[in-house]
Symmetry: C2
Subunit: 179 residues, 2 copies
Amino acid sequence: MSTPHAILISLLEQPSSGYDLARRFDRSMGYFWRATHQQIYRELGRMLQQGWVAVVGETAGEAAASRKKVYQVLPAGRAEVARWVRETVTDVDGRNIFLIKLRAEAAIGPLGLDAELARLIGLHRERLQTYLDIEQRDFTPADALTRAQRVQYAILKGGIVSERAWLAWAEEVGPLLHA
Amino acid sequence: MSTPHAILISLLEQPSSGYDLARRFDRSMGYFWRATHQQIYRELGRMLQQGWVAVVGETAGEAAASRKKVYQVLPAGRAEVARWVRETVTDVDGRNIFLIKLRAEAAIGPLGLDAELARLIGLHRERLQTYLDIEQRDFTPADALTRAQRVQYAILKGGIVSERAWLAWAEEVGPLLHA
DNA sequence: GGTGACATGTAACGTGTTACATGATTTC
DNA sequence: GAAATCATGTAACACGTTACATGTCACC
């Protein structure tokens, strides 16, 4: 349930047509969140019904049929974003979701993301520790490993560097959110 | 279409029941690939029909109904894994898929993953360069940035550290695959 | 004999993906 | 006037998720 929110945030940054959104999700937004134009049109339709977004300048009436429709976020949509941003994600894989929330923070913040970041840091620290325990248990000493074990160790190292990189980044981001 | 292959590789490492697999996908395998027991049973059923796997010791006949079923990989399944491992993934987000392939390499390798790794390294270098270009263009000098810009910069930095970490890891893994 | 872990499945639903379809506008 | 891009949509299908359902086995 994050794609509609990613779209809302993209619209907060810049009111756009479905087509524009689709292109944006192939560029900057697409670096950490993907959506095809079919998904986007589907979600825009739903959000229109829910009153989260509206089409700008419908004044033109029926003459403007089959033309570009520019969507903008309504107060209800903005409230939904604020609600969703504060929602707790207990999933360690919520990294990209957190990046979307940061984007909301940049657009309409501050939104109080400190707590969410702290929780994610905790989860990632735990996971890193799990990896380090496995390393100690199964791959130490590093010599005397078979080929298969060296490859398995490489997989584990992938997890370790990834967690370390994320944690280093997160510690750096923290101060930005207290402000 | 990677879940069935993840299951196959897990079965190559150790013939197991659907239940065992489900637990394994909540542990070690689950660190980079997830699957619920419903998915696993569904895929096991399909792979059974396709002749990729078989149930061990069906000799017991109808008496063994509603009991533990241990699956093992048949030659056709092993061939499918070998085929899939060599398949080209042009997607930058194929990181986790590559980790599964590495796991296959550990289990039944060497499988010739050098080329795939080289391609992924190329893709990630390109993406890193894109990020660095954006950094130069939009966030330099680092002072004189608004709050919103500093948050946007943090998002970008997340991408940069993530790409750098992955590339450092990948360069280290390379030599293991030429062997 | 009751509780919890083992073990396998079905059904319904939501989302993402691929293919198909149409028409307007811009550019050469 | 042909081709590329802009622009919006429908339909079918694959996949993942959640809820429901059933029964066994071991242990206390």
